[in-house]
């Protein structure tokens, strides 16, 4: 098992290296002189030259990459041209708003999906199954873009119950959380349902029935735990992907989080910021993926044989 964990660790390092190389090449493939871009539109030639010197753009490309890697290792993700500050503290300052959204999203998604998926998987009643599958399919077809706009139109414009846009108390959180939670609940419903079906076919479930335990206890005490393993794995991986969802939702609801920062960086051509966001979301995903694999290999040692 240690061999397996070591192998997965090395693989994760390789992934991180490739992603870093990709982000580095991407910014250097940008049309135009990067130093001029970073110095700003109205910079004089001297300012551009100073920027070139400071960022090391006059050095050979492999040396620049090495400098970049060294910087990353020290937590230096580059300088923002817009804020004239290192990008990392700026991203962290925006994080609480997005984390609030992400936590709410996961809660809503679980509350919507797990009961529905479990009931559909246990009863296998045709009507409930069709409803669960339709609920899932509709959720996958409602992009957060359209769902967000529709919710604003219904609950803010027509009914006037909730504020349309902005950051603030709990009333500002309800619509964004629903917008992001429903599409996520769609996938989770499917996984919860199929997990429940697989578990109910296991021998140990038949054995618990044979012992005379009530149906309800079999479902909640014995089947649910095993059926939830794929659901929890998916939630873990989805958490790392929340940043991606927040770009649209925070743009629709004008929330001052990380997603909105990403959007503003695109408009202001703040390449260091965009590069940092790409790297952070990828590192986060790779890290969560690694942890999930390690936990799974401890729970089920057969997995580490492959």
């Amino acid at each position: 098992m240690l061999y397996y964990i070591g192998k997965r660790f090395l693989q994760s390092l390789v992934v991180i290296f490739i992603v870093t190389l990709f982000a580095f090449v991407l910014v250097h493939a940008a049309p135009g002189n990067p130093a001029r871009m970073m110095a700003g539109e109205y910079a004089t030639d001297e300012q551009v030259a100073a920027m070139e010197e400071r960022m090391g753009f006059n050095k050979p490309i492999y040396e620049q990459f090495w400098m970049y890697l060294e910087g990353l290792a020290h937590g230096d993700f580059g300088m923002s041209v817009v804020y004239n500050q290192p990008v990392l503290p700026i991203i962290f300052s925006r994080l609480p708003v997005t984390v609030q959204l992400a936590v709410g999203t996961v809660l809503v998604a679980c509350l919507l999906s797990i009961p529905l998926g479990v009931i559909a998987g246990v009863t296998r009643a045709k009507f409930i199954e069709f409803f669960a599958m339709f609920f899932a399919l509709l959720g996958q077809s409602m992009s957060s873009l359209w769902l967000g706009i529709l919710l604003i139109y219904i609950f803010a414009v027509k009914l006037g119950w909730l504020p349309a846009i902005g950051t603030g108390g709990i009333e500002y959180l309800i619509l964004p959380v629903l917008t992001m939670g429903y599409p996520m609940a769609a996938t989770l419903t499917r996984v919860a349902r199929s997990g429940m079906i697989d578990t109910m076919n296991e021998d140990y479930i038949t054995a618990t029935y044979a012992k005379g335990i009530s149906n309800f206890q079999v479902y909640t005490k014995y089947a649910l735990r095993n059926a939830m393993i794929p659901v929890i794995t998916l939630i873990g991986l989805d958490l790392a992907m929340q940043l991606s969802g927040s770009v649209i939702v925070e743009s629709v609801f004008s929330r001052a989080g990380v997603g909105q920062l990403m959007n503003q960086s695109v408009t202001s051509r703040d390449y260091a910021m965009i590069q940092a966001m790409l790297l952070i979301s990828s590192f986060l995903f790779t890290f969560v993926n690694f942890i999930v694999d390690v936990i799974n290999s401890i729970i089920d040692p057969r997995l580490s044989l492959y």
Binding site: Q11, S141, M142, L145, W146, V157, A240, N289
Partner: protein
């Protein structure tokens, strides 16, 4: 697979039938109706700004869904926007299928270093969320249709490649492959004439399930201003432009929004239906 079994399964699958009917209808509307609408989707007309929808009172002569802030007919923009969206999605899916299949077969059949390199590349691309990667690439390279196709293709062939690879690793151990190798068949013949036909089912299932996702991606990127560029119409940039008129002229967001939802829903129904028809055992 026997054709009769296939047809009877198609008829029995609600999802497949709903998907097929929906898509045929949407395609017919998007590609046939513009022949009878005489409004130019990109021509501004400031005297005709923000007309409310008049329905079919004057048939297709009038502004069925009204006009937008620049006086352009919303119906014709929806239809042409749909055409752009479908063309893009199909182009990207075909490219993803080709890249994913070829790399998957190479990775699975050759094994060794080819496998290691291709799989690590897959892991690296998979670790970057599609939308974030698309935004980063389009922000740096500049928004254009070519770049849009490039970045959506780049981010989506992974799943296909992994499934094909795992399939190939099973198929390559079967007798007919070993036999043709011993008979001295060329590598390319074994990979593409012998192994490929055995993995096509999964390729079709995965490709059909990606279409809806790609339409959402295109709309999202266009909404952020990185996808299809105005004045060319796209459901995403129409929603984006209509947002500020939400309280007074709600049709500017509701019409493209419902178009987006119905199109994606039909493609998702079809994708799930195709899976049920081709692979009834793996019902999710």
């Amino acid at each position: 697979m026997d054709k009769r079994i296939l047809f009877s399964r198609m008829r029995k699958s609600y999802f497949f039938m709903i998907g097929v009917v929906g898509i045929v209808l949407i395609f017919a509307i998007c590609y046939l109706v513009p022949l009878f609408v005489h409004w130019d989707p990109e021509k501004n007309s400031l005297l005709d700004r923000l007309f409310p929808p008049e329905g079919f009172a004057r048939g297709l002569e009038g502004h069925v869904f009204g006009t937008d802030a620049l006086g352009r007919d919303v119906l014709s923009r929806i239809l042409i926007g749909g055409q752009y969206s479908f063309r893009l999605a199909f182009m990207v899916v075909v490219l993803q299928m080709v890249i994913g299949t070829v790399l998957g077969i190479l990775s699975g059949y050759l094994g060794g270093w080819a496998d290691i390199i291709i799989m690590r590349a897959c892991d690296a691309i998979m670790s970057m969320p599609t939308l974030i990667m698309a935004i980063a690439v389009l922000a740096v390279l500049g928004p254009s249709t070519q770049n849009l196709v490039l970045v959506l293709t780049l981010s989506g062939w992974i799943q296909l490649c992994k499934v094909v690879r795992n399939n190939v690793r099973v198929v390559k151990r079967q007798e007919f492959v070993l036999a043709s190798r011993d008979l001295g068949a060329k590598l390319s013949h074994i990979m593409f004439s012998q192994i490929l036909p055995n993995v096509t089912t999964n390729i079709i299932i995965i490709a059909s399930q990606r279409l809806g996702f790609l339409i959402i991606m295109e709309a999202s990127l266009s909404f952020l201003g990185l996808g299809i560029q105005p004045p060319a119409p796209s459901w995403g940039n129409m929603i984006s432009a209509g947002r500020q008129y939400m309280t007074t002229q709600p049709w500017l967001i509701l019409v493209p929004g419902f178009a987006l939802m119905l199109a994606v829903l039909s493609f998702n129904f079809l994708g799930d239906g195709i899976r049920d028809v081709l692979d009834p055992k793996r019902k999710m």
